[in-house]
């Protein structure tokens, strides 16, 4: 198993690593038992993500995926960010090894969890948005059996 240059670059030089003081919204997914936790902080102005920062406990591809994810959402509207899939994150990294695809899933979910927080708190939740956030129903109660690391 070997990582692409892009993954290694984002792992060695992570973009937007850190936390945002007084973030507009924040989302944490994963579980230390599974070996991955991602925390995504967003600063949102006029429905546009003006800043994003991550902290990740996890393997190289988890760190790279969160780094890449922040790059992909900064400057996007929240609804655009909501449409970013784990595949898009993985592709932007020039691919991930099969056993590591769940890292890109975590990145997608950490964004969504933060956006869920945002929409809910701002009273902006719509049925459409809710539908795109449906997975969180499971995720909120996640345990080792249901967490993404058991997915592949």
């Amino acid at each position: 198993m070997q990582y692409s240059e892009k993954v290694l670059d984002h792992f060695m030089h992570p973009r937007n690593m850190g936390e945002i003081e007084n973030a507009t919204a924040s989302g944490t997914v994963g579980n230390p038992v599974c070996g991955d936790i991602m925390k995504m902080d967003l600063k949102i102005e006029d429905n546009v993500i003006v800043d994003a920062k991550f902290k990740t406990f996890g393997c190289g591809s988890a760190i790279a995926s969160s780094s890449m994810a922040t790059e992909m959402i900064i400057g996007k509207t929240t609804d655009e960010a909501l449409d970013i899939t784990n595949k898009a994150v993985a592709e932007a990294l020039d691919g991930l090894p099969a056993v590591k695809m769940h890292c890109s899933v975590l990145a997608e979910q950490s964004i969504k969890k933060a956006l869920n927080d945002y929409y809910t708190r701002q009273g902006l939740m719509t049925p459409e948005r809710k539908a795109k956030l449906a997975f969180l129903e499971v995720c909120e109660h996640e345990d080792h059996e249901n967490c993404t690391c058991a997915e592949q």
């Binding site: 198993m1 290694l8 792992f11 060695m12 992570p14 690593m17 936390e19 944490t28 230390p32 038992v33 599974c34 070996g35 991955d36 936790i37 991602m38 925390k39 902290k55 990740t56 406990f57 996890g58 393997c59 190289g60 988890a62 760190i63 056993v99 769940h102 690391c149």
Partner: protein, 427 residues
């Protein structure tokens, strides 16, 4: 410390790489490569052939066997060449099970064996055999009396490794073997990690069978050994021609056999000196790591461990990312056994010694070898703290800990004999 990771990254470009993963595999000694290359060229005959070229090959093979037998203090006819340690483990376990199933279908092993043993056992379980997996204590030791208690009238084999490949703990196999002998149960030990590092004499250790692998002691990958006590009959794993006293088919790899013999002979000759030298380096490494890195602990037994093995857990961070950063600074290390690196599960060995999964994910194994130096260890002690710090800075668990939201499982000052209790209570 004023030096930064980025600075070390730049500096490391001009530094030689440091190979600290001798438990995964070793570079064959130059003397071994020379013997192998020469044998491939000159001694290419089939050892079963009935002419000069064949006789030359059989001589090389049998001289190698005799040399190895001398190193193990056993008879040449008790030494069988295989293709790897894994094959030896499979052969010993499945061969015994199939040959003795008339007597019983129960086997005993531990939870911290190599996958070659564990997966052989699982294969047997699918075929209706029953296996008892004994728990070890938090240092990796197994109380021999637990074996006695587990032996039943239908027990046909006990398999307990001599030294663990991840945490380096040396298990009390002589005592376990004595109990097996007393109870009339066959005893096999996977000594792949032990051979070449500490004295291994199957008879003294009360073993009926032992598995070995060349590439852990500076011989090539692709040759293994099985010690099988004279007169002991088990089923073949690989049926075929009359090779290896009809016990293992396949044209013999005399070149690697000669390489194995040379490597073993050199390891035995070096052992007294090297085990002391490597143990001193290892202890320098362990002391340095525990002193310089907070919330770090040594895994395995504090003293009863292979002279070359150090295995650590670092709280709040994950193992693979440590390895990647170490690799970038020029170090080859591992987080557990190499053959499971594609897996996402935490090491079954660390779980087996009772470590909670959240800590088991953050382990690092450093295994030294004949080419390891104090300079390498000191360089490592400079770099590892930077790496751990860098990853902790990225870790949301570490933020939580800093904010007092998470109670650490490893105390700040760490140690070499810490038993972790409990697990995270995340809100």
């Amino acid at each position: 410390m004023s030096i930064t990771f980025e600075e070390r990254l730049r500096e490391s470009m001009s530094l030689p790489r440091v190979y600290f993963d001798h438990a995964a595999t070793t570079q064959p000694r130059p003397e071994v490569i020379e013997i192998v290359a020469k044998a491939l060229q000159d001694t290419y005959g089939n050892p079963s052939s009935f002419y000069e070229e064949g006789h030359r090959a059989v001589r090389l093979l049998e001289e190698s066997r005799a040399e190895i037998a001398a190193g193990l203090k056993v008879l040449p006819e008790e030494v069988f060449f295989t293709s790897c340690g894994t094959e030896s483990d499979n052969w010993a376990i499945k061969g015994t099970a199939y040959a003795r199933q008339g007597k019983g279908r129960h086997l005993i092993t531990t939870t911290i064996e190599h996958h070659a043993v564990l997966h052989s056992m699982e294969a047997l379980e699918k075929q209706g055999f029953e296996v008892t997996y004994l728990d070890v204590d938090y240092t990796g030791l197994l109380d021999p009396e637990k074996v006695r208690a587990a032996i039943r009238p239908d027990t046909i084999l006990v398999s307990v490794m001599m030294a663990n490949n991840e945490i380096g703990t040396i298990l009390p196999i002589r005592e376990i073997g004595a109990i097996c002998r007393e109870k009339g149960v066959l005893f096999h030990s996977d000594a792949v990690q032990a051979l070449g590092a500490i004295p291994v004499h199957p008879r003294d250790l009360n073993c009926d069978m032992m598995s070995f692998s060349g590439h852990k002691l500076y011989a090539p990958k692709g040759i293994g050994l099985m010690y099988k006590r004279k007169g002991l009959r088990i089923d073949r794993l690989i049926d075929g021609g009359a090779q290896e006293r009809r016990q293992r088919g396949g044209t013999e790899n005399a070149a690697f056999a000669a390489g194995f013999a040379k490597a073993l002979q050199m390891s035995v000759a070096d052992m007294e000196h090297e085990s002391v030298r490597q143990a001193a380096l290892r202890d320098r490494l362990i002391r340095g790591v525990i002193e310089r890195i907070p919330h770090a602990k040594l895994n395995g037994h504090p003293t009863r461990r292979l002279p070359n093995n150090a295995n650590f857990s670092f709280e709040f961070i994950e193992g693979e990312s440590i390895l990647l950063l170490l690799d970038s600074l020029g170090y080859a290390c591992s987080s557990g056994s190499a053959c499971t690196s594609a897996s996402l599960d935490p090491s079954h060995v660390l779980l087996g010694i009772g470590m909670p999964a959240e800590i088991a994910h953050g382990s690092l194994r450093v295994t030294l070898g004949i080419d390891s130096t104090e300079e390498q260890v000191d360089r490592f002690l400079l770099d590892l703290p930077l790496i751990v710090e860098r990853l902790r800075d990225m870790s949301p668990l570490y933020s939580d800990f800093k904010r007092g939201k998470l109670h650490p499982l490893i105390p700040e000052k760490g140690g070499t004999d810490i038993r972790i209790e409990g697990q995270y209570n995340l809100d």
